[in-house]
C-alpha cells in the first residue's frame, strides 16, 4: 500500500530491535478482553482508479450547475472562485502543516492568518479578528457566551430573522448553562422589531443578522443605539459577507462583536462544510474572545515575525477556565478567504458586490412583472423572499422538472410564509438564467 513504506525486511529488523516476535506481540499491554475477535468488516481496499470511478458515480447523482439552475442561498452561496486561489491552497506547505505552535517553521501560516485577521477586521469595521471558528452558527453561539462572560448577565435576545439553523445551534450551546433566550418580533418590512428593547435592562447581548435570513438589510445603527441604551452588547451576525462590499459594515454602526459565515469568500459550498466562522470584537474585549490569535512580534535578531499569542485564553493552558474549548479551527478556509479577498481587491470587491446587487434587483423586477409578490420592501442583498402566483407547490415542482431549483421553501421555518420561497442571485447567475425563471414562473 503506497502510504505504508515498510518492507517485510524492515519490519523484521525493527521487531528485533524492539524485542517482539511479531506485530501482534506489540499489543501485549492490551488485555485480551479488550481486543477485537474478528477482522474489521469493511469493503476491500480500492485501487486509486477504482476509488475515482466510485466517487465519480456518487458525484454524478448530485445536482449542480450548469446542469441545474439553483437559486438557493440560505447561508451557502455560489460565487466564482479564481483558479489561482484553488491552486495556491493546494500547496501542501499550507495544507499539510499543523497549527503553528512552533512559529519559526510556520511563518507562512502565521503571516497568512495575520493578514486574514486584518482583512476580516477591515471588512467588518472592527478592531480585532481571531483566526477563525468552525462556522457562522457556532461563532454566533460563542459570541453570546462571550457577552455573557463580559456582562455577567444571563439573558440574551435574538432576532427571529437570524438563520433558523444558527438559532438552533445557539439553543444547543446555551441550553446547559440555563441561559434565557428571548426572541424579538419582526416587522412587516422584513426587519427586526427592536422597539421592545426599551423595557429590557437585564440582557447580556442582543444579536441581529444583516443581511438577515430574508436577505433584508437591517437598520443596524438604530439597533445599536437601542441595544446600548438597554446596557447590552450588540452582536451583529451575517451569512453573506460580500454585502459589506456595498453596504455599511456593522462595526461602523456600533456593533461590539461581529461574527458570521465566510464561505462566500473563496470557499466551495461542499454540501455545507467546511465553512468559515469569522469572529471579530473590540480590542477592549480581546481577552474574553475565543479562538486563536496571531500577533506580530520580532525575533532575537530584530526581524519581524508572527506568533500565536494571548494563548492563556485557550483550553490548552486555561483548561476548564478557558474562554472556549476550541482547538482545531478552520485555518485553511481562513487562508482561502484571505487569498480570495487579496485577489478581488478593494476596488474589485465594490464592483463585485454591486454586480451581485444589480442582478438580484433585475430578478426581483422581472418576477414582480409576472405577478409575483415580494412581501418585504426593505433593501436586500443577493436574497429575497418571493410569493409565487397561482399555487406555490405546483410551480416549484414544475420548475424542478425543468432542472430549476426555485429557491428555499420557507414554510417549515416560518409557517406564516406558506407559499413563499427564498431566492438567491449572485454574480454567477446570468441574465438568461433569470429570464428563463421569470418566463417559467409567469407561464
Amino acid at each position: 500500500m503506497r502510504y505504508l513504506p515498510h518492507t517485510e525486511e524492515e519490519i523484521a529488523s525493527m521487531l528485533r530491535v524492539v524485542g517482539t516476535e511479531d506485530l501482534d506481540g506489540l499489543f501485549s499491554p492490551v488485555p485480551p478482553d479488550c481486543k477485537m475477535g474478528t477482522a474489521l468488516d469493511l469493503p476491500d481496499a480500492l485501487t486509486e482508479w477504482e476509488l475515482g470511478a466510485f466517487m465519480n458515480g456518487l458525484a454524478a447523482t448530485m445536482a449542480t450547475s450548469p446542469a441545474y439552475k439553483i437559486f438557493m442561498g440560505g447561508g451557502s452561496y455560489e460565487h466564482y472562485i479564481p483558479e489561482s486561489v484553488s491552486y495556491l491552497l493546494g500547496r501542501s506547505e499550507f495544507s499539510t502543516a499543523y497549527t503553528p505552535y512552533q512559529p519559526e517553521i510556520s511563518q507562512g501560516t502565521l503571516q497568512a492568518i495575520y493578514e486574514y485577521q486584518t482583512l476580516t477586521a477591515r471588512l467588518l469595521g472592527m478592531e480585532v479578528a481571531n483566526a477563525s471558528m468552525y462556522d457562522g452558527a457556532s461563532a454566533l453561539a460563542e459570541a453570546l457566551l462571550m457577552a455573557i462572560r463580559i456582562t455577567k448577565r444571563k439573558r440574551v435576545a435574538l432576532s427571529p430573522l437570524i438563520h433558523p439553523h444558527y438559532r438552533a445551534v445557539v439553543r444547543t450551546y446555551l441550553g446547559p448553562g440555563g441561559h434565557e433566550l428571548v426572541e424579538l418580533p419582526s416587522l412587516e418590512n422584513g426587519r427586526t422589531d427592536i422597539s421592545g428593547l426599551a423595557g429590557m435592562d437585564d440582557l447580556a447581548a442582543v444579536a441581529i443578522q444583516s443581511p438577515n435570513f430574508f436577505g433584508c438589510i437591517e437598520n443596524l445603527k438604530a439597533a445599536g443605539e437601542a441595544i446600548h441604551e438597554a446596557g447590552a452588547l450588540f452582536i451583529a451576525s451575517f451569512t453573506e459577507p460580500l454585502a459589506y462590499g456595498l453596504f455599511k459594515n456593522p462595526g461602523c454602526q456600533g456593533a461590539d462583536i461581529v461574527c458570521g459565515e465566510g464561505q462566500s469568500l473563496g470557499i466551495p459550498r461542499s454540501f455545507g462544510g467546511p465553512g468559515l466562522g469569522m469572529f471579530t470584537c473590540r480590542m477592549k474585549h480581546v481577552r474574553n474572545m475565543p479562538g486563536r490569535l496571531v500577533g506580530k512580534t520580532a525575533d532575537r535578531d530584530g526581524r519581524a515575525g508572527f506568533v500565536l499569542t494571548l494563548a492563556t485564553r485557550e483550553q490548552h493552558i486555561r483548561r476548564e477556565k478557558a474562554n472556549s474549548n476550541i482547538c482545531t479551527n478552520n485555518s485553511l478556509c481562513a487562508l482561502a478567504s484571505a487569498m480570495y479577498l487579496a485577489s478581488v481587491g478593494g476596488t474589485g470587491i465594490r464592483d463585485l458586490a454591486s454586480l451581485n446587487y444589480d442582478k438580484t434587483e433585475y430578478l426581483k423586477r422581472g418576477l414582480r412583472g409576472v405577478g409575483c409578490t415580494v412581501p418585504f420592501d426593505s433593501s436586500t442583498f443577493n436574497e429575497f423572499v418571493v410569493e409565487f402566483p397561482k399555487g406555490f407547490k405546483d410551480t416549484y415542482s414544475r420548475l424542478l422538472e425543468k432542472r430549476i431549483v426555485a429557491g428555499i421553501i420557507l414554510g417549515n421555518w416560518y409557517p406564516e410564509l406558506p407559499n413563499h420561497s427564498l431566492l438567491c442571485v449572485t454574480e454567477t447567475t446570468t441574465k438568461e438564467d433569470m429570464d428563463e425563471l421569470i418566463r417559467e414562473v409567469g407561464s
Binding site: P29, Q315, V344
Partner: protein, 485 residues
C-alpha cells in the same frame, strides 16, 4: 546520511498584503455585466473595505513565497504526539474537488443529493464498525466540537432520567479540551491521578465516583502513549453509580482493528478525522470530530441525521430527544469525504496494518532513544512515547532548547510540555507513514543534539539558526498585542 537534512533553502522576504499592489490592479476576472445598475439606499450604502488592489501575479507570488516558510508533512517528519501527522493522500483532495461535491448546496432536495447522503450513510457505518460502537453523528466540526457533543449527550442523558449531576472525572493526563468541553456543559472537573505506571488505577476512580458524577472522560491509549489497562474495571465502577464513560478517541491510530472500543466500556466517544483518518491539518483546521455512541444513546444524537428507506437517503430532524443542532448544516462534508476515501483505499486490513506499524515505529524510537533521553515509563508504548529533559538538566538544557535545535536538523519538533504529568515532556508520535530510514535519521538527529547539549550547549540555546526567523519574543507579543495591520 552524511549531511544533516536541514539547510537554509531559498527563502524570500515577503511584505504584508497591504504593503503591496497598486490602486486599480485586480487578481480576479470580473464577470460580465448583463444587467443595468440599480440604485442603492444612500443611508445604507458604505464605502467598502480598505483592501489592497493586487494583480494575480502579486497574489500568486505572495502566497508561494509564504508557503516556502512553512514546514508540512510533505516537507518532512512531523512527530507531534497525539496529533497523528500522517501522510495526507492527494487522491482524496481530487475527490473532494469534484464539482458534484464541491459545488453542492447543503439544502438541496434529497432526490438531488443522493451521492453525498449515501457517502455520509456509509461513513457512519464504517466508523461504527471501526470503533465497535452502534450509531454515529458526522456533524461535529472538530475534535473539541465532538467532545462538546459528547458532553451534551451525557448531560441530556442524566437530565432525561431526572438526575442533575454536576461533576465529570478527568484524568491528569487529559488534553485541555476535555475539561474545557465539560465546563461548557456546566460540569466541574474532578481530577483523577494516574499512578506510577502512567495509567489510572481503579481505586482512584472508585474514591471519587458518586451519584453526583455524570461520568468520566478517558483517552485510551492515553496521552503518555500507554494503554489504560484498567479501563474495563474503571468503566464498571463508573457504570455502577449510573455514570457514563466518554472516550476521547484522539489516539485511535494505535488500535484500529485491534481494540474494540465498544467492548472496553465506552458509551460515547469522538474521533478526529484529521488525525487517524488522514485528512490534512490545514495549518490549524478544518477538521472533523464524529461522535459514536452505544444504541441507548442514539436518540440523543444531534440532528439532522441521515436516514435510509426504499426511496433512498434523506436528512431527518424527526428525533425528539436529540440534543439539537451543532453546525449550520451537516458538518464538514469536504473533510468527511476525504476520510471516506481513505477508509475505502485502506480497507479493514490496511487500517489494522497502519495501527500496527504506527505502534512499531513508536516502540522502535523508544528503544533507540532510551539511553539518550529520560524515559519516565519504561514499558512498551503504543503509537507514541514520552521522554523528558531530565538527563539534560545538568547542562541546564531544556526540552524547548532541544526542540528548537531539531528544526536545524530538518525535523518538526515533537509535542512539548504535554502531558502535564511529565515535567519537560517531549511526546513523539511518528505515525505509520514514516519509513525506517526517516526514523533512523530522526534518531540520529536526537542523539547528535544530546551530544551537542553536553559539548556545545549554546548551539541549542541559540537554535533554531536555519529557518526564516530565530526564536520570537512571545512576551512582547502578549504584553502589547499587535493583532491587525
Amino acid at each position: 546520511m552524511k549531511e544533516p537534512q536541514g539547510t537554509s533553502g531559498l527563502i524570500f522576504n515577503e511584505p504584508l498584503l497591504w504593503e503591496k499592489g497598486k490602486e486599480g490592479r485586480i487578481g480576479f476576472s470580473m464577470p460580465r455585466r448583463d444587467v443595468v445598475p440599480s440604485p442603492v439606499d444612500e443611508g445604507l450604502a458604505g464605502d467598502g473595505p480598505d483592501f489592497p488592489d493586487l494583480s494575480e501575479v502579486d497574489v500568486v507570488r505572495h502566497y508561494t513565497r509564504l508557503s516556502q516558510w512553512n514546514f508540512g508533512v510533505d516537507t518532512g517528519m512531523y512527530p507531534l504526539g497525539s496529533c497523528t501527522m500522517k501522510y495526507n493522500p492527494k487522491i482524496n483532495e481530487r475527490q473532494a474537488a469534484l464539482p458534484g461535491f464541491a459545488d453542492a448546496h447543503p439544502l438541496l432536495p434529497a432526490e438531488l443529493s443522493q451521492g453525498a447522503l449515501e457517502l455520509m450513510w456509509h461513513l457512519e457505518r464504517y466508523l461504527a464498525e471501526i470503533t465497535g460502537m452502534d450509531a454515529v453523528t458526522l456533524q461535529p466540526a472538530a475534535g473539541a466540537h465532538g467532545e462538546l457533543t459528547g458532553m451534551l449527550i451525557v448531560h441530556a442523558y442524566h437530565t432525561g432520567r431526572g438526575s442533575r449531576r454536576s461533576k465529570i472525572l478527568v484524568p491528569d493526563t487529559a488534553h485541555g479540551t476535555n475539561p474545557a468541553s465539560a465546563a461548557l456543559c456546566g460540569f466541574s472537573s474532578v481530577a483523577v491521578r494516574s499512578d506510577e505506571r502512567g495509567i489510572i488505577p481503579p481505586e482512584a476512580v472508585a474514591a471519587v465516583m458518586d451519584e453526583d458524577t455524570a461520568g468520566i472522560m478517558i483517552t485510551n491509549p492515553n496521552t503518555l502513549g500507554l494503554f489504560e489497562e484498567n479501563i474495563r474495571e474503571i468503566a464498571d465502577i463508573v457504570h455502577a453509580k449510573g455514570g457514563l464513560v466518554y472516550g476521547d478517541g484522539a489516539n485511535m491510530n494505535a488500535v484500529m482493528g485491534i481494540v474494540q472500543m465498544g467492548k472496553i466500556g465506552f458509551d460515547v466517544m469522538h474521533l478526529n478525522l484529521h488525525k487517524t483518518f488522514s485528512t490534512p491539518h490545514g495549518g490549524g483546521g478544518p477538521g472533523s470530530g464524529p461522535v459514536c455512541v452505544k444504541d441507548f444513546l442514539a436518540p440523543l444524537l444531534p440532528v439532522p441525521r441521515v436516514v435510509h428507506s426504499e426511496e433512498g437517503y434523506r436528512l431527518s430532524e424527526a428525533f425528539p430527544e436529540s440534543i439539537g443542532r451543532l453546525h449550520a448544516f451537516h458538518g464538514n462534508f469536504g473533510v468527511l469525504l476525504k476520510a471516506f476515501c481513505y477508509i475505502m483505499s485502506m480497507g479493514g486490513g490496511g487500517l489494522k496494518r497502519a495501527s500496527q506499524l504506527a505502534v512499531l515505529n513508536a516502540n522502535y524510537i523508544k528503544e533507540n532513544l532510551e539511553e539518550t533521553l529520560y524515559l519516565p515509563y519504561k514499558r512498551p508504548c503504543m503509537h507514541e512515547c514520552v521522554f523528558s529533559d531530565k538527563l539534560q538538566e545538568t547542562e541546564k538544557i531544556t526540552t524547548l532548547d532541544m526542540a528548537k535545535r531539531l528544526m536545524d536538523y530538518g525535523f518538526h519538533p515533537p509535542t512539548i510540555y504535554f502531558p502535564l504529568v511529565v515535567h519537560g515532556a517531549m511526546m513523539i508520535e511518528p505515525t505509520e507513514t514514516e519509513s525506517k530510514e526517516d526514523i533512523d535519521r530522526f534518531i540520529e538527529a536526537i542523539r547528535a543534539i544530546a551530544t551537542e547539549a553536553r559539548d556545545n550547549p549554546d548551539l541549542l540555546r541559540e537554535a533554531p539558526a536555519r529557518p526564516k526567523v530565530r526564536r520570537l519574543d512571545e512576551t512582547a507579543a502578549a504584553r502589547k498585542p499587535c493583532l491587525t495591520g
